[in-house]
Symmetry: D2
Subunit: 256 residues, 4 copies
């Protein structure tokens, strides 16, 4: 039994990762985000790919107090000696409600082109997808935001960078056209949110939709470190986690 | 009750993170690793800091098949719809045995300078710390490696970059001197491993030792995505996780 | 802002849980499984319910070396000081592939009765559900097992207890009838596995299908403790986790 | 390579667990808590052991709104499709601050008897341990509670059951004597809390101190299901998790 892998091999003197010598070729030469690309594509990103990917990950790695970051902080409060568990706890909420949209957008866009190829114009395809999902009773992922209305400021920024770097291709164009038609149908401006933009751009970077959410998860791990750092900075008794816990404890109405 | 934070604020039109406008100042301008720095230091890193930090994180984000990466793959096998849980499961093993050394090295070095300041020369201090830990029956963290002997190839590379960028300062120098004296005492070449190097360099970048392990955890999240990607690439039935599981299942000797 | 809950309240002198005094009414009077029932139903189980629930949980809490239990053991290997993380890591694989079936069976059975009420006989209903799922391209959850063929020994045992205690009601009967018809259609004996039996019995105990998997998760937490205990018993270097890791490390074929 | 285990074996027709036939000997005959005992001791508990263990686990499985249960609820809010992750997130905070005491008490008591055997009377030993820890600057685990003062109602209840069932032996007696002397020294009544009582009783049941916290973790998994059940019952928008998140979001004071 041999376990085949493209990922890595360690010998006494060297480490190889995806065909590169870790110490000689990678350390000092690429960014952390490039390792994500390398892990998935088995090659280093181009400069444009590296820039696009870093931009994308930065757009999603931090969003202030969220259920996820509160969960990390509360976990740290109980287990400060296991900081890995606090990061992990914050990642576990990256499910269908908050992060899933990124994957669903990528899946929708990628499957549309797998199914229809170049049969239709972008306009026709956008209309088709909106119609199909309506008939199936499915929501359109990537639209709407409870704070950023009618524009999520990260979306135009990411699309501008994508255009400059050559990644505003068919998946992004389809989503943008869907957004246009969807707003027209609704008669109002609906937010094309950052999860939609990322789902489309990562699709244009040829990232399999099944991996899209994991990119956000890795980025969010970076953001969660900042939350734990703040818990340490303020000290346990003054920390947000402690205050949230105390507030809840003191405002509980028991209906047992 | 107001929850104070330096981390972020969202308004309808803007997101601010640590005093920066996310869309205008950060997306497209910095790397993912810089967000880690920003989250902890509340300022963007200098170019040297960014380069040093990226190098450090790349050195630790991937190490082939480890208990951690196997745990991620096995979790993905059972719950492919919850990719965040597979990443989280791989992070949970980042405890005292494999990742802790980074923190313990940073703690040892930082507390040494907090206690002794500039009283002693590096040589004297190195001797003092080795002696103290011996008397207390404590191991010296950061030394030894089960594969990379007598040199962990990541260590000289990281120290070379640190020297070039101006981060090979007192903490790294103390660890290097401790390594020299420790090898002399043992009469053989003992590996100064990558966790030691990172603990020292992050200390020279003024990262609180309590946060050092979380940097490795965030980097490892990036590496784990590559393992999950490979599980997807090979397909469930041919995947490493499935093969490991089957191998164990077929080679179990029950002593009940 | 008051957070309403039926779960619990602590005062200086007392703890109340779901309307009971924890120290006076619960500790010493009920079993751990009964607390699960109480948490979901806000009342103590009857003696029959308690017996049925304990039987159900015992049937699912341990299944030897599985991807889940290996993940727990590997996590413990890296972070023995954080035993909670080792248990958690083992739970994270309780997803669609291994544990999901329990929920899917319960959902299928419960929604069938919600939709069709008492319109049809059990025979008609079984045929209807099999037909509907075939038309929708959906698998029938709860059938098949890679080891236990053609009978999962836990299934007849659980159904026998259910019958004795009065829980072999419409959901279980529908599943049993579906099994009969499905085997007839396939012309061979297909296993009605334990996840199917549990999904049906918990439905007959009026547990919402959205909670069914969490019952298995809580039971599995108990089982995982046994795996970690064995890791401690054998000691780190002789442990299964260490041996699995070493075996993989020594049998890796790098294709980078 | 064979992986030795006492835990389980599956054949086509049977499952064996710790030497018992799962379907014939265990399902329907023992309680969930007994499986925990079996996993650790490789034998079924006696009736007294089963009763004591169930009482102990019930005392610790639920404590209303805690950082742990909030973390579970917040995780469920983001990932309702991965209920296993919500349970796991709640377990991850079972670290040094809230649950650790149980383990530390058991360790302190077990190591005291390993070191001193029957050299001293309980009174002398209690004085010795208090003195030793004071000299080493170590806190006494198991004492104090932020709500239950001066008596944690679970403690006398558990000790009463332990006495009745024959488990109020040397470890519990030592802790009770330490409590007496500690209160005398401080000149006030200090709470002997439930984590102390459990650490002592599990020691008297001959549970290795390294496993004691995992018993609490398994029990807490049961409690967390109740919290998730309540989130489902109230519905997402009215849930405690959603309200906590909104409250924090609306009461954030940004100092960026």
């Amino acid at each position: 039994m041999q376990f085949e892998t493209k990922i890595g091999r360690s010998t006494r003197e060297q480490l190889h990762v995806h065909g590169y010598n870790l110490a000689d070729d990678l350390i000092g030469n690429i960014t952390l985000a490039d390792m994500l690309f390398l892990g998935v594509k088995h090659r280093k990103p181009t400069e444009a790919e590296s820039k696009m990917l870093n931009a994308t990950l930065i757009a999603i790695c931090e969003h202030g107090f969220t259920p996820s970051s509160l969960s990390s902080r509360l976990t740290y409060l109980g287990a400060p000696e296991a900081i890995q568990a606090a990061v992990a706890a914050g990642l576990l909420g990256a499910g269908s409600v908050y992060f899933g949209a990124m994957e669903y957008v990528a899946e929708m866009l990628q499957k549309t082109y797998q199914k229809h190829g170049n049969e239709y114009s972008t306009e026709e395809l956008a209309g088709l997808v909106i119609q199909e999902r309506k008939e199936q009773g499915l929501q359109l992922p990537g639209f709407g935001h409870h704070i950023h209305k009618p524009v999520d400021p990260r979306t135009p920024k990411l699309f501008a960078i994508a255009e400059e770097l050559g990644f505003l291709n068919k998946h992004s164009q389809l989503l943008i056209e869907m957004h246009k038609q969807f707003c027209e149908q609704k008669g109002k401006e609906i937010t094309l949110n950052v999860t939609g933009a990322i789902g489309a751009i990562l699709s244009d970077m040829e990232i399999d939709y099944r991996l899209v959410k994991s990119f956000a998860v890795a980025a969010r791990a970076v953001g969660l470190v900042g939350h734990i750092a703040e818990e340490i900075e303020t000290g346990r008794t003054e920390s947000v986690a402690q205050q949230v816990f105390e507030y809840v404890e003191n405002h509980t109405d028991y209906k047992g």
